[in-house]
């Protein structure tokens, strides 16, 4: 387990502030945040490239706060690979093993094994300058895995890849994490990468960790406006909450809706578009919220249709083509939005 306690680090005008995290063995942990959040500085501090100003880092029970990076046994992969340009692919992969003075036979065996695993057997004699982006990324992964690290630190490793390559590298990363039981700590600004890869996500902004949790919790139950906006919550409203007859009522302008979250005062409310049902008729159901609105816009996204509905406040709803065909709805029509109180997430 990697445990970080109250970590702080000043870097020019920027600083990491009181960061505490616990990352389980074998976990795929993603640190998600916008550019300038301090993700890379945090990752480099975990790797030992920077000494923290305060706080502690533990690997298992052992404190490694001041342990030199070459003694931490943590692989590091940068977005732009940082392959050694004066070494062939084979020598890049073997670098860590040569540093450890392994014998030639063992090095060769290891290099071949990693090359097979990452499908780069045919490029071992090439120099990095002659590789594609995907090949470079695989070589960087092989090089980091060669030292059999307990932890693999990945700094935006997918950011420079096109969509097709990204998909393949994501499969590789998931497979390696599953099979090797190596702890992965991956920083990214991409929500979609985080959703696909992460067992758990930490959302970071301005040098602070704002929220840590499973992907589903982060995306469905953000605890702040920033997290909600950053993870792409679309139906986000500011208003007042009050308790009425044992349930919370959220009010924003003329609009009212029920929430199962117990909260009062100034709050934000969020509802995921996929949790909302559209109906042409007013429905009596266990769902506590039923609101009337007018369709303002419909955008076909290929697999779904995004519908913008004005209920006093603008709601975004996703519907399938089948639902669309069944309901025959069009722009300007009146419809009802139905969603459960438990899907109305409230936070301050």
């Amino acid at each position: 387990m990697i445990r970080i306690e109250h970590l702080g680090k000043k870097w020019g005008n920027f600083s990491l502030k009181d960061i505490s995290l616990e990352i389980e063995d074998g976990e795929y942990f993603v640190i998600l945040g916008p550019t300038g959040a301090g993700k890379t500085l945090l990752l480099e501090t975990i790797a030992g490239f920077h000494l923290p100003d305060h706080g502690k880092i533990f690997a298992g029970e052992k404190e490694i706060t001041t342990l030199p990076s070459n003694e931490r046994g943590m692989g590091f992969i940068y977005q732009d690979y940082m392959l050694f340009p004066h070494m062939r692919v084979r020598d890049n992969i073997a670098y860590g093993l040569k540093i450890r003075e392994k014998d030639e036979e063992e090095i060769e065996r290891h290099v071949q094994k990693l090359a097979r695993m990452l499908h780069i057997e045919n490029i071992l004699e090439r120099y990095p300058q002659n590789l594609s982006g995907g090949e470079k990324q695989r070589v960087a992964i092989a090089r980091a895995l060669a030292i059999e690290p307990k932890v693999l630190l990945l700094d935006e490793p997918l950011a420079a890849l096109d969509e097709m390559l990204k998909g393949k590298i994501i499969e590789d990363l998931k497979r390696i994490n599953r099979e090797s039981k190596i702890t992965f700590i991956h920083v990214t600004h991409s929500r979609s990468d985080a959703i696909i890869l992460a067992d758990r996500i930490a959302v970071m902004k301005d040098g602070r960790i704002l929220q840590v949790g499973k992907a589903v919790d982060i995306f469905r139950k953000p605890i702040s406006k920033f997290v909600a906006e950053f993870v792409g919550v679309e139906n986000l409203f500011e208003g007042e909450a009050e308790r009425r007859d044992g349930i919370t009522v959220f009010r924003s302008g003329e609009m009212e809706m029920y929430s199962s979250v117990t909260m009062e005062g100034k709050v934000y409310a969020s509802i995921r578009p996929e949790d909302i049902i559209i109906s042409r008729e007013k429905m009596e159901s266990s769902a506590r919220n039923c609101m009337e609105g007018i369709i303002k816009e419909m955008v076909d996204m290929g697999n779904i249709i995004r519908v913008n509905i004005d209920c006093g406040l603008p709601f975004m709803v996703n519907i399938t083509h089948e639902s669309m065909d069944e309901m025959h709805i069009s722009i300007g029509e009146r419809v009802y939005l139905i969603f459960k109180a438990q899907n109305v997430h409230l936070f301050r």
Partner: protein
Amino acid sequence: MMRERHDVIVLLFALAAVFIIAMLFLPVINLLFSAGFEGLIQAIRDKNAWKAIFVSFEAAFFATFLSFILGTPLAYLLARKRFPGKNLVESIIDLPIVIPHTVAGIALLLVLGRNGLIGASFNKFGMRLADSMAGIVAAMMFISAPFFINHAREGFESVDPRMENVAMSLGATRAKAMVTITFPLSLRNMFVGAIMTWARAISEFGAVIVIAYFPMVAPTYIYSRYIEYGLSQAIPVAALLLLICVSIFIVLRAIAERWRRYDKD
């Protein structure tokens, strides 16, 4: 219309380029022709000329070697670290490039001379820095070391420090990361810097003649021939030195050019 205007600009640039190349090359080629074949043979047979050329080569080699040994750590620190007074240090390094070389010679004499800041201490033990090989090396180094330091620094700056980070994450100590990653990738810059340093050192006259007339370096020997016997006796030795230096310079530059496989990713 645009195309025509562009062509005119290119033509003007080409004319300016031809003019400046001619300005640089004409005196050099004219010197060789002025010396003539017989003059060159005469210079080749001049033992004193060879002696002076060897002193120049030896001193320039030591000046380059010392610039490499002492300049490399400084270049690395300047490339990698931020520290108070860094701008001042960089200005001090460039200072010898801007001050007149005779002034540099006088300044060095005040430090290394018999009664100088450092020279006086050496003098107590019967060691002489001025009018010695050590003085010549010091003068050459003073003038030429900035070329090495600046080239080496540019080389180190061109290697992403994150490469060293990766090397360290793979188990290398910082020193090992420097030796296996940063230095090989900066080697071409360092080599070019060393060539420039050596070339500048071997051509130095102003600072050297102030601090050490003897042992005589090639430029001082050529100057003495000019003063004592006139231009006609200075030309052949000058042409010989020119031929040797240019030949070595061309070979070393060619080696540096072939070093492209170390170029960064």
